[in-house]
């Protein structure tokens, strides 16, 4: 059991003041899997992925990556372990071009004396070929990100996360702000990633998208794991019931 999954969480708990955001969460992410994390607002999804990506520390619990226990103190450590969070709005710098954004923080440079000159040409070439491997045709990587549409930006943000986080990519509502066609493109990209030996955790409110992209779904409710299902063995009704707690009306008082 120890080695057959990429990421395993054991008994993760987190409180903010008196609010118990997460209680005793166990979670597994398998290799080459798209795991959807769903739940109502305030269910604890964001808190959980923030803990995985090192943005906040858990109060209790253990994190195992490829069978080894790890402690992730900040986003930088998460990145060096191969975990990349792709933030909804924070991912890209509007005033820089696509290639520079993909390489931001790890630029390709040519050193002359003590000065690192940016190798724009190399970064552009590598960006184009990287985007191509993800099935994205984009020649003009010199375009500034602010001139791209919402869907294009999301695709670039995801590509960027994938380029640097080779094992696990966390996507927080990747399709929330997108139109139908753009959301479809992003979802196709997510399915594509799976074939590149990358696991993905995707937070989404859109069950249609969840059923399209995910292999498995984990439902959080009031900071607890309300259930998990393999997508092929469940349907929308069951997931909705888990999200809203309709099935557990009788047990609710026991909490």
């Amino acid at each position: 059991m120890a080695n057959d999954c990429l990421l395993r969480l054991e008994g993760i708990s987190k409180s903010f003041g008196g609010v118990r955001a997460l209680q005793d969460i166990d979670l597994e992410v398998n290799y080459n899997e798209v795991l959807a994390l769903v739940g109502d607002n305030g269910a604890g999804k964001s808190t959980l992925v923030k803990i995985i990506s090192g943005a906040i520390p858990p109060d209790k619990g253990k994190i195992f990556l490829e069978g080894k226990e790890v402690s992730i103190k900040n986003p930088g450590e998460a990145a060096s372990l191969g975990i990349q969070m792709c933030y909804q709005d924070l991912a890209l710098v509007d005033c820089l071009d696509v290639a520079t954004n993909i390489f931001l923080g790890r630029e390709i440079c040519r050193r002359v004396g003590f000065v690192d000159f940016l190798s724009f040409r190399k970064m552009r070439e590598k960006s184009i070929s990287h985007l191509k491997t993800l099935g994205i045709e984009l020649q003009n990587v010199k375009e500034k990100v602010k001139n791209l549409s919402g869907g294009q930006r999301q695709v670039i943000a995801v590509s960027r996360a994938v380029y640097w986080g080779t094992k696990l990519v966390i996507l927080d509502e990747p399709t929330a702000a997108l139109g139908v066609r753009e959301a479809k493109k992003v979802n196709e990209l997510i399915k594509n990633l799976k074939q590149k030996n990358i696991s993905i955790i995707v937070i989404s409110h859109n069950l249609q998208h969840v059923f399209y992209v995910a292999d498995r779904v984990v439902v959080l409710r009031h900071g607890r794991k309300a259930g998990e299902r393999v997508i092929k063995e469940t349907d929308g009704d069951e997931v909705v019931k888990m999200i809203t707690g309709a099935e557990f009306n009788g047990q609710e008082l026991a909490y």
Partner: protein, 325 residues
């Protein structure tokens, strides 16, 4: 718009030309050209080598201050202290020179003082104190001006060494030294901001500070360095000014901060950060210099000149804002 629509014609000369045409710098260069054309028609004295060199010499100090201001504005900050830091550096250097300290040592100390002032502002802005740049540099503005008055007891310092006068008074190949210093510093700034990794980080921070931080870049260090550069360029401008007058008074440089901001903004810098260019700032400084010079040649009163500069700033920024949409 989907992924397939990403496919665009590959980059070619036409694209590049369109890019140049759409860039903000292009607009200001055209503006400068038209302004110069108008002035050379109106005044026979405008388009002469000596007048042009004179204009460049006059703007050199503001232009040098504007380099640091451009760095700071690109990160989304502002530096109100440059005029005072200019005075403090120049006054300190002059004080040392008149007290039998070696000239080069005095100049070095003056520049170090500028760097230290920028560093202190930067510390206030980037550490836990997290002071807004406007406030931190306003405090430094008061401190710098006050210390200049303390050192000089409110009086000008005269009688600087003749040798010192060469910095601003000398010529190399017929070009005034301040202009050479200015062009040299602009070259460094241009190469740094356009082609060097650390230069690109200023834009990244101005564009999206959080994304830059998440990308693993030490944003505090980058921001701090912008204020240090601003302090350094202000102090260099102070040395040029002191050398040009072979004296310095503690009130020198008053109002330079606003001229420097104006130069950067005319040149396409955005006070919200992320936009601006060193070439644009130089052109912005030249436009203001040419405008003042031209109006002088046409015998327009100094009062009206202020009105004209104000109109130019409002006009250029409005045109840029409308073009963006």
């Amino acid at each position: 718009m989907g992924i397939n629509n990403f496919r665009k014609s590959s980059v070619n000369i036409k694209d590049t030309l369109i890019q140049i045409k759409n860039s903000r710098v292009f607009l200001v260069i055209v503006g400068l050209f038209l302004l110069s054309l108008l002035l050379s028609v109106l005044s026979p004295h405008f388009l002469t080598v000596s007048n042009i060199l004179n204009v460049l010499k006059q703007i050199s100090m503001i232009a040098v201050v504007s380099i640091g201001m451009t760095y700071v504005i690109i990160t989304g900050g502002i530096d109100l202290s440059v005029g005072s830091v200019l005075a403090l550096s120049a006054v300190s250097a002059a004080y040392l020179m008149t007290h039998n300290i070696n000239m080069y040592l005095a100049i070095t100390v003056g520049m170090i003082i500028g760097v230290v002032c920028g560093f202190i502002s930067g510390i206030l802005i980037t550490t836990k104190i997290n002071m807004p740049p406007f406030i931190a540099t306003m405090a430094m503005m008061g401190i710098g001006r006050g210390l200049s008055m303390v050192i000089t007891e409110g009086r000008p310092i005269y009688g600087l060494p003749n040798q010192f006068g060469f910095i601003a008074g000398g010529y190399v190949f017929g070009i005034p030294m301040p202009v050479i210093i200015m062009i040299f510093l602009y070259l460094i700034g241009y190469v740094h901001l356009s082609y060097v990794r650390t230069g690109m980080y200023y834009y990244a921070i101005g564009g999206n500070q959080e994304a830059t931080r998440v990308a693993g870049i030490d944003i505090r260090r980058v921001k701090l360095s912008a204020y240090v550069i601003s302090g350094l360029t202000a102090s260099i401008a102070g040395i040029i000014l002191a050398s040009r007058l072979v004296s310095i008074e503690p009130l020198s440089g008053s109002g330079y901060e606003l001229d420097a901001i104006a130069a950067a903004v005319i040149g396409g810098a955005n006070l919200y950060g992320g936009e601006g260019s060193i070439i644009g700032t130089l052109v912005g400084a030249i436009i203001m210099g040419v405008l003042r010079n031209g109006l002088n040649l046409l015998n327009v009163s100094a009062y009206w000149q202020q009105v004209a500069v104000g109109i130019v700033i409002a006009g250029v920024v409005s045109i840029n804002a409308l073009r963006k949409k």
